[in-house]
C-alpha cells in the first residue's frame, strides 16, 4: 500500500489507498439438508488520486503491480470530476466494538449443527415445509492510508443466520423467512425459529380480502421491504444535491409524523454495519435524519459534502467504485403501542410482512405498489388468516406523515435496519377477484 501511495504521489497532488480483505465461511442448506460448505477469500486494493484538481480511480481485485494500478487511475483522471474535497489527515476515531475473536473460532461442525437444529424446529411445526438456510461466519479487515498522513485500520467479525421456507400445496405457495446477524456468533437459533413458526402458524388458512382503503400494520420486515428504500434515497446527500429528493428544501421542516424519529448509527456495538471510520477515513458517527418528524440532516461522503457546502457525516461507502453516501445501521425510534393493541384496534385491515416488488416503482417520489408476498388479514381485532393475490399501493411520505401508532418493540432486519411496527390508518388494497 505504501509503495502504491508513494508512486501515486509522484504524479498526483492527493492520493489514497484503500484495502479490504475478507474471509468468510458460508454453510448452505437446501431442501432441509446440508448442501454445500464454502470458503471465500478476497482482497481488493483501490487507489483514488487527484491530479490537476480532477479525481481518478482504479481498483484491483487480487494481485496487481502498483505501477499498473497507478497508471490505470491516471488514465481516468483526465476525464474525472473536479475534486471538491481534501482527504482527511490523521484524526481520532471513536472506539467501536465490532470484533469478537470467538466468531472466527466457531467450527464448521458447530455451524452445521445450528443450521440443522433450526431446520428441525421449523419442520417439526410444519412437516411439509422445504427450507433453504445459511449459516455464515467471517472476518473482514480494512486498511486506509492517504497523502495527508492518515493511516488507519480495523478488523470486524460477522455472523449470519438465515432461513427461507416454502410450502407448496397444489397451486398454492407460501413463503416464510427471516434472518439475524451480529459480530458475535449466533448459536442460539430459538428466536429466529419462533419468528418463522409464527409466520407459518398464522398462514394455516387463506382468507379473502376486499378491494378498498383499510388500515395496515407494517411489521419490521414489512417496513424493510416497503418503506425504507425510498426514505434512505431521499436522505442521501447526493440525491439531495441533484435536486431529485423530495426533501431537498425541507431541512428543519416537519414533514413526518411528530412521533417519528430516524437516525443512521455507525457506532453501535457489535452491529455488522458499524465501523470506527468510513471507507474514506472519516470517523463513524450517529446522524439524526428525522427528529420528531422534522427533517434534521442528510448523510454525506467527502465529495458530496464539499459540493453541497457541508461536512461529511462519515457515510462514505464503497461498492466497487468511488465512495458514495451510504447508510450504516438505520434505526427508527420506538413508540409506545404494543403490536397486539394495534391489531385489536382494527375492524378490517392488513398486516404486511413481505411486499414483493415495492422497490420497482418510482422510488424518488415515494410511490410504491407491490404484491403481498406474506401478509395477514385482521378482522375485529384478530388475525384471521393469510391473504393472497393482493396488491397494496401508496406513497411513503403520506404513510409516514400520519401514523396511527408506533410499536413499543423494535427488531433488527438483516443487520441494516432496526425498526418497530408501524401502524398506518389507511392504505389502498386491491384484491384479485376469485
Amino acid at each position: 500500500m505504501e509503495e502504491t501511495l508513494s508512486r501515486a504521489l509522484k504524479v498526483a497532488e492527493q492520493a489514497e489507498v484503500f484495502r479490504v480483505s475478507s474471509k468468510s465461511t458460508p454453510v448452505h442448506f437446501e431442501a432441509n439438508r446440508l448442501k454445500q460448505v464454502q470458503t471465500k477469500e478476497s482482497t481488493s486494493t483501490s487507489l483514488r488520486l487527484v491530479k490537476g484538481g480532477k479525481i481518478g480511480f482504479a481498483q484491483a481485485n487480487g494481485f496487481i503491480e502498483s505501477e499498473t494500478l497507478v497508471s490505470m487511475a491516471l488514465e481516468t483522471c483526465q476525464f474525472g470530476t473536479n475534486a471538491g474535497f481534501e482527504l482527511p489527515g490523521h484524526r481520532a476515531y471513536p472506539h467501536v466494538d465490532i470484533l469478537d475473536t470467538q466468531t472466527d473460532k466457531i467450527a464448521i461442525d458447530e455451524m452445521v449443527d445450528v443450521g440443522e437444529k433450526l431446520i428441525d424446529s421449523i419442520t417439526k411445526h410444519t412437516p411439509d415445509v422445504l427450507c433453504q438456510a445459511s449459516v455464515v461466519k467471517g472476518i473482514i479487515s480494512v486498511d486506509i492510508i492517504n497523502s495527508q498522513g492518515s493511516q488507519a485500520s480495523y478488523t470486524k467479525s460477522f455472523f449470519e443466520l438465515g432461513l427461507e421456507g416454502v410450502v407448496v400445496k397444489g397451486d398454492d405457495m407460501l413463503f416464510v423467512g427471516d434472518s439475524q446477524s451480529s459480530c458475535h456468533p449466533i448459536l442460539d437459533f430459538k428466536s429466529l425459529a419462533e419468528e418463522i413458526i409464527t409466520q407459518l402458524e398464522l398462514a394455516k388458512k387463506n382468507v379473502p380480502i376486499s378491494t378498498k382503503l383499510m388500515p395496515v400494520i407494517f411489521t419490521p420486515l414489512g417496513v424493510a421491504s416497503t418503506l425504507i428504500t425510498p426514505i434512505a434515497a431521499a436522505f442521501n446527500g447526493k440525491i439531495v444535491l441533484d435536486g431529485a429528493s423530495p426533501l431537498k428544501d425541507k431541512l428543519g421542516k416537519p414533514v413526518f409524523d411528530k412521533n417519528l424519529s430516524l437516525w443512521d448509527d455507525a457506532i453501535l456495538s457489535y452491529q455488522i454495519a458499524s465501523y470506527p471510520f468510513d471507507d474514506e477515513g472519516m470517523p463513524g458517527q450517529r446522524t439524526s435524519l428525522i427528529d420528531c418528524g422534522v427533517v434534521s440532516h442528510f448523510f454525506y461522503d467527502l465529495q458530496t459534502a464539499a459540493l453541497a457546502n457541508t461536512r461529511s457525516t462519515g457515510n462514505g461507502g464503497r461498492h466497487g467504485g468511488l465512495p458514495t453516501p451510504s447508510t450504516t445501521s438505520l434505526v427508527i425510534g420506538k413508540g409506545n403501542v404494543p403490536y397486539r393493541d394495534m391489531v385489536r384496534d382494527i375492524k378490517e385491515g392488513l398486516v404486511i410482512y413481505m411486499l414483493m416488488g415495492a422497490e420497482q416503482g418510482n422510488i424518488l417520489n415515494g410511490d410504491f405498489s407491490g404484491n403481498v408476498l406474506l401478509g395477514y388479514k385482521v378482522e375485529d381485532g384478530e388475525i384471521t388468516g393469510r391473504v393472497k393475490n393482493t396488491m397494496v399501493s401508496g406513497n411513503v411520505y403520506q404513510i409516514l406523515n400520519r401514523l396511527e401508532a408506533i410499536g413499543d418493540d423494535a427488531k433488527w432486519i438483516g443487520g441494516l435496519l432496526q425498526t418497530p411496527y408501524l401502524y398506518c390508518p389507511s392504505l389502498s388494497v386491491a384484491a384479485k377477484a376469485g
Binding site: 446440508l34 448442501k35 460448505v37 464454502q38 470458503t39 471465500k40 477469500e41 478476497s42 481488493s44 479525481i55 480511480f57 482504479a58 481498483q59 481485485n61 487480487g62 494481485f63 490505470m72 487511475a73 488514465e75 481516468t76 476525464f79 474525472g80 470530476t81 473536479n82 464448521i108 452445521v112 422445504l130 416454502v166 407448496v168 397444489g170 397451486d171 398454492d172 405457495m173 378498498k212 441533484d242 435536486g243 431529485a244 423530495p246 467504485g321 468511488l322 414483493m356 416488488g357 422497490e359 420497482q360 416503482g361 418510482n362 424518488l364 417520489n365 405498489s369 407491490g370 404484491n371 393472497k388 393475490n389 396488491m391 397494496v392 399501493s393 389502498s428 386491491a430 384479485k432 377477484a433
Partner: protein, 457 residues
C-alpha cells in the same frame, strides 16, 4: 491458452479422492463511466484476477474462491475436505463429453479498443440532450464495458478458455415540478459491439420528453384490466413470471413443485411457445459453453402451450433424469455456477398490433420496465410507461404501473401474440445473491386478459 496456468490446474486436479473437481481461473477488466446531471460522477477502471475450486463428494459440494491463484493444490484439498463434511449419498452428475477449446468473441466495434475520450464524447451528447429538455431536473447515466477471460478445467479432462466482452448503457431522465418527481430510463446492452449504443439521440430526446409528461399524468385505478404488453415488458414478464419457474434448481428437490411443473402440463394456448437458449447467437446471454463446460443449447420450455422441458445444471439434470441444457452459470469466480436463463423469449405469431388494440374496449397499454421479481407462482413487474386504451384506441398517458399475478393463471390468459419479436439486451438477472448476470429477453406484443394492476381507488 496460457501453458503455465493450464499445467498448474492440471497438476492440482491430479490424484484426489473426490467424485468430481473443477477449477476456474478468471481475469477481467472493467471500465465504468457514470454521470449525474451536469457532471461526470465517476470514471473508473477495475482489474480482477481470481478463481475458484469446486469439489463434489458423495453428493456434497465444497467450494473455495480466492484472489490469490497460487497454491491451487491446497485449495483443491480444502474444497474436497469441505465436500466430505456434506456428502452422504451417491453422487448424481450428468455425464458430458470433456471438451478442449478456446473461444474468442468476434465483435464489430470493440469497446475495449476504444479510447475513453470517444466513449465519453457519445455519453456527453446523450447527457446534453436530456439536460437541455425543459423541466428535466437531472440525469443518471451509467455505462460499463468489460473483457473477461475464463479458463475452466475439470477432473474429467475438460479444458476450455472463453473470452467474453459485454457492455451496457442505462440512460435515466428525472423530471421535477411542484414537488413531484418522475423518472424514465432506457437500458441497452450488447455482447461487445459498441455501435449497439450509438445513434440514440432521437430516443434519448423522446425519453426526456416523456419523463416530463409523466409529471401531469394521472395514476391508474387499481383493479383487473386487459393489458397489452410491448416486446420489452413482455420479455421481462417471460423471464420473471415463467423463466425462473423453469430453472430446475427450484424444482428438483421439491416434490410438490415437481408435480406442479410436470412436463406435459398445459400452461397456455396452442399459440404459446417459449424458448431459452445460449446457442441463439449474438445476444448478451449467448455463449458456447456454460460454467460447467457443457455446450450451450436452444431449449423449448413451452411448445404449443405444453411444458416441454426445463433448464438444467449437470446435477439437476441427473437428479431429475432429464436432458442437460448447459444453463449452469456464475457471475464471476466468487460464486459457484447455478441454473440460470440465457436468452429467453416468446416466439412470434401472427396478430398485428393494430388488431390487438382495436379489440380492447377498456384496458392498459404497458411499455418498458423498471424491474420485475417473482416468488415462483406470484410475479410482479413494473411498466415504466402506461397508457389507457379506450374503445380500441390508445388514450391518455398514465403514471408507471405495477402488474402482478399468478403465473399459471396469467399464461392461460394470454389471448393474443403479435408478429413483432423484439429482444431486450438492457437487463441483467439476479438470483441467489448473484447479480447482475448478462441475459436478454424478448417477445412480440402480447395481450393478457384479467391482469391485476396496482393503483389508487
Amino acid at each position: 491458452m496460457e501453458i503455465e496456468k493450464i499445467s498448474a490446474i492440471t497438476d492440482a486436479l491430479k490424484g484426489h479422492g473426490a467424485d468430481y473437481v473443477e477449477v476456474r481461473l478468471e481475469e477481467s477488466y472493467v471500465s465504468r463511466i457514470l454521470y449525474r446531471g451536469q457532471r461526470v460522477e465517476e470514471i473508473g477502471k477495475t482489474s480482477s484476477i481470481g478463481g475458484n475450486v469446486r469439489a463434489l463428494v458423495k453428493g456434497g459440494w465444497g467450494f473455495v474462491s480466492f484472489n490469490d491463484i497460487t497454491g491451487l493444490r491446497d485449495k483443491v484439498d480444502l474444497a474436497i475436505r469441505q465436500a466430505k463434511i456434506v456428502g452422504n449419498e451417491d453422487t448424481k452428475f450428468s455425464p458430458v463429453q470433456p471438451v478442449t477449446d478456446t473461444v474468442i468473441t468476434e465483435t464489430k466495434k470493440d469497446p475495449i479498443a476504444m479510447p475513453l475520450a470517444s466513449k465519453k464524447q457519445l455519453l456527453d451528447e446523450y447527457n446534453d440532450i436530456i439536460m437541455s429538455t425543459p423541466k428535466i431536473q437531472t440525469s443518471n447515466i451509467g455505462y460499463h464495458d468489460s473483457r473477461k477471460k475464463i479458463i475452466f478445467a475439470n477432473s474429467e479432462g475438460a479444458c476450455i478458455e472463453q473470452n467474453k466482452i459485454d457492455l451496457g448503457l442505462r440512460l435515466t431522465a428525472i423530471a421535477i415540478a411542484d414537488g413531484e418527481v418522475q423518472q424514465l430510463g432506457l437500458s441497452l446492452g450488447s455482447p461487445g459491439d459498441f455501435s449497439a449504443i450509438e445513434g440514440l439521440q432521437q430516443e434519448t430526446k423522446e425519453l426526456a420528453q416523456r419523463a416530463v409528461r409523466l409529471l401531469s399524468a394521472p395514476q391508474a385505478r387499481g383493479g383487473e384490466y386487459t393489458v397489452l404488453l410491448d416486446p420489452v415488458l413482455a420479455g421481462v414478464f417471460t423471464h420473471e413470471a415463467f423463466g425462473h419457474l423453469s430453472e430446475a434448481d427450484h424444482v428438483y428437490e421439491n416434490p410438490q413443485l415437481r408435480d406442479l411443473m410436470a412436463l406435459g402440463r398445459k400452461f397456455g394456448g396452442k399459440h404459446l411457445n417459449i424458448v431459452d437458449g445460449a446457442a441463439v447467437p449474438g445476444l448478451r446471454g449467448s455463449y458456447k459453453y456454460d460454467d460447467e463446460g457443457v455446450p450451450a443449447s436452444k431449449t423449448y420450455l413451452i411448445q404449443e402451450g405444453i411444458l416441454e422441458s426445463r433448464l438444467h445444471s449437470r446435477e439437476t439434470a441427473a437428479k431429475m433424469g432429464e436432458k442437460i441444457t448447459g444453463n449452469a452459470r456464475a457471475i464471476n469466480y466468487r460464486y459457484p455456477p447455478i441454473v440460470r436463463m440465457t436468452n429467453t423469449y416468446i416466439e412470434p405469431m401472427s396478430a398485428s398490433f393494430e388488431d390487438m388494440v382495436s379489440e380492447i374496449k377498456e384496458g392498459i397499454y404497458v411499455k418498458d420496465w423498471y424491474g420485475g421479481t417473482t416468488s415462483m407462482e406470484m410475479f410482479t413487474f413494473s411498466a415504466a410507461e402506461a397508457y389507457m386504451i379506450r374503445d380500441g384506441e390508445i388514450a391518455e398517458m398514465l403514471r408507471p404501473v405495477t402488474l402482478s399475478g399468478n403465473v399459471f393463471a396469467t399464461l392461460h390468459n394470454i389471448d393474443a401474440i403479435g408478429n413483432d419479436l423484439g429482444m431486450n439486451q438492457g437487463g441483467g438477472c439476479g438470483k441467489g445473491g448473484q447479480s447482475s448476470l448478462p441475459v436478454s429477453n424478448g417477445s412480440p406484443h402480447i395481450r393478457i386478459s384479467k391482469c391485476l394492476i396496482g393503483g389508487g381507488q
